[in-house]
């Protein structure tokens, strides 16, 4: 597979192979498929990608992708603007939206603090969050960052920055997956779940809500 019969074709394969999760063989298959498809279809495919880059905007409030100045979540009158859920990136917004359990709005950081990768607080959208808090209209900040040490550290940084404002800061619960047997849960998670157990009464009340 070292040399392909056409330079143009090879460029297309190389570009496809840059996509996450796509190896060279899959890229070759995709390129052949696109080459064989109708010209209009291939053009629509290319245009969609070009338009995505030219036309997509980022929501002024939360940093989510959007067609307008405000994204559909921030722009919706049904959402509770006083509860803000802090997430690492747009994929997390989509994941939480899919649960259908959250009616507040989001704040996308665009990453987490990791000096190794050269990402400090200044590279992230933390100032925007502080401004929101200082505006005084919020009642709760929910931290929903990854459960890695970098995620924990970012949580801690945000918490320290918001501490003086006296706004309640919560963190999403971590523990045993729904439907899992205890014996198959890894020891660290199970141990943490025991330490951070929750009052049963609060669970019944939430179910009845």
């Amino acid at each position: 597979m070292n040399s392909l019969p056409s330079r143009v074709f090879e460029t297309a394969v190389n570009e496809l192979a840059k996509l996450p999760g796509i190896g060279r063989k899959t890229a070759l298959r995709m390129a052949l498929h696109l080459l064989k498809s109708r010209k209009e279809d291939a053009e629509a495919f290319g245009m969609a990608i070009i338009r995505m880059h030219n036309d997509i905007r980022y929501c002024r409030e939360c940093g989510n992708i959007s067609d307008d100045e405000l994204c559909s979540i921030c722009g919706s009158p049904k959402r509770d603007k006083s509860i803000v859920c802090v997430v690492e990136d747009i994929r997390d917004v989509i994941a939480i939206e899919n649960t259908g359990q959250f009616n507040g709005v989001y704040h996308v950081l665009g990453g987490i603090i990791s000096p190794m990768e050269g990402i400090g607080p200044d590279e992230l959208n933390i100032e925007g969050l502080i401004e929101k808090v200082n505006s005084g209209s919020l009642t709760e900040i929910i931290l929903a960052l990854p459960t890695t040490i970098e995620g924990d550290t970012t949580n801690f940084y945000i918490y320290k920055k918001l501490h003086s404002s006296a706004i309640p800061v919560t963190m999403i619960a971590r523990g045993i997956s729904i439907g899992d047997e205890l014996e198959h849960t890894d020891e660290v998670t199970l141990g943490r779940s025991i330490v951070n157990r929750t009052p049963y009464e609060s669970i019944i009340q939430k179910k009845n809500q």
């Binding site: 000096p115 050269g118 040490i149 924990d152 550290t153 320290k160 020891e187 660290v188």
Partner: protein, 364 residues
């Protein structure tokens, strides 16, 4: 628990081998290069899913062959048989099966068939740098404490990030204490937990070690292990605060449990510098025997003990002491290698313990 039967296929120098063991003492004898230690290594595989010597699994396949297989049949409490299989094909992942059922994660297997190996390489514990001693105690503690292992991994991640941040500060010529504090806080929390567990472990471990050293040496020498940590003399919070400017100019974290070390002394002097080869050997053997004891106390049953070339450098008195020790009832199944069949026969034939000799190379 003991290993009843071992079957090898194309493992190291063995094309095919089948051995049935005693539940007490088993001796492998033969000249250099016949494969005495390879048998111990096969047993090590069954317990730890890896070689004691060579981390590249495929290099343990017999030259020119496509795979190796190790089958071990263990007996626990009388008659229940447990079959452990390890199969390594070239260019494939290593497979481990218990009673024909494959493990999803190798980590689930480790610890089920505990084993302690005493080998000539143990002297690295004395002669090499502090990292190997930290790794040793970490490996013993984390075998039975998964939380410790997790905290340790987290601590090391924090350390790498904190060091990267210190480097960034220096490169870009700025400083933001808020950015450093968030890592400090994690390092303090995890460092304290790890320090407490290391301290607790060594408090239990050192007296057992001293007991064994006294026994092997005949009680003439006094040995000690000193746990040296920055945290012994001060609180982690204070250390981090006081060394902040030093960390900044060094561009890495100068204090913490990642600098811990163990100091080995014999009659008050450093074993590394002043101990004879025989004394150093006795020292590491006693450490490994203490590990055996510690493992047995936690597991509730006796691990398998592998003694590779222990007679090297020890005098006859110490050899006699060591052998009589491991033949006692608090030890279980033991595997010993020696180049001299005569020597080892002389020792065991006078003793009232079940033993079996395997003269290598094996005959069909």
């Amino acid at each position: 628990m003991f290993l009843h039967k071992l079957l090898l296929s194309d493992f190291k120098n063995y094309e095919q081998a089948s051995l049935v063991f005693s539940d007490k003492i088993n001796c492998f004898t033969g000249n250099n290069g016949v494969g005495k230690t390879n048998l111990l290594d096969a047993i090590h595989y069954l317990s730890f899913c890896k070689s004691f010597f060579n981390p590249a699994d495929t290099q343990n396949i017999r030259h020119g062959q496509d795979f190796f297989a190790i089958n071990g049949s263990f007996q626990r409490n009388g008659d229940s048989n447990e079959l452990v299989q390890c199969i390594q094909k070239r260019n494939q992942r290593k497979r481990f099966l218990l009673n024909k059922k494959e493990y999803d994660r190798l980590a689930d297997h480790i610890g089920n068939f505990p084993l302690v190996m005493i080998s000539p390489y143990d002297r690295d514990l004395i002669s090499e740098g502090s990292e190997i001693r930290r790794k040793y105690i970490d490996s013993v503690i984390s075998q039975f404490d998964k939380q410790y292992l997790d905290d340790l991994i987290q601590y090391n991640k924090v350390l790498v990030q904190r060091n990267a941040l210190l480097k960034t500060f220096a490169e870009r010529d700025f400083f933001d204490s808020a950015q450093l504090e968030i890592w400090d806080e994690q390092m303090i929390r995890l460092g304290k937990l790890l320090f407490a567990k290391r301290t607790r472990f060594l408090e239990a471990f050192i007296p057992i070690f001293q007991h064994y050293y006294t026994f092997i040496s005949g009680g003439q020498e006094k040995v000690d292990v000193q746990y040296n940590s920055h945290l012994c003399s001060s609180e982690m919070e204070i250390l981090i605060r006081e060394n902040r400017s030093r960390d900044r100019s060094a561009q890495f974290s100068t204090v913490g449990i990642h600098k811990d070390d163990l100091e080995f002394t014999l009659d008050g002097f450093q074993v590394k510098k002043f101990g004879s080869q025989g004394q150093q050997k006795s020292f590491v053997v006693a450490i490994k025997l203490a590990q055996f004891d510690y493992t047995r106390n936690i597991k509730g049953y006796k691990p398998i003990l592998l003694l590779d070339d222990v007679f090297d450098k020890l005098d006859d008195v110490r050899v006699q002491q060591l052998i009589s020790l491991v033949s006692q009832h608090n030890f279980g199944q033991v595997f010993i290698t020696d180049t001299s069949e005569d020597r080892i026969r002389r020792i065991f034939d006078t003793m009232d313990i079940d033993h079996k000799f395997f003269s290598l190379p094996l005959k069909d």
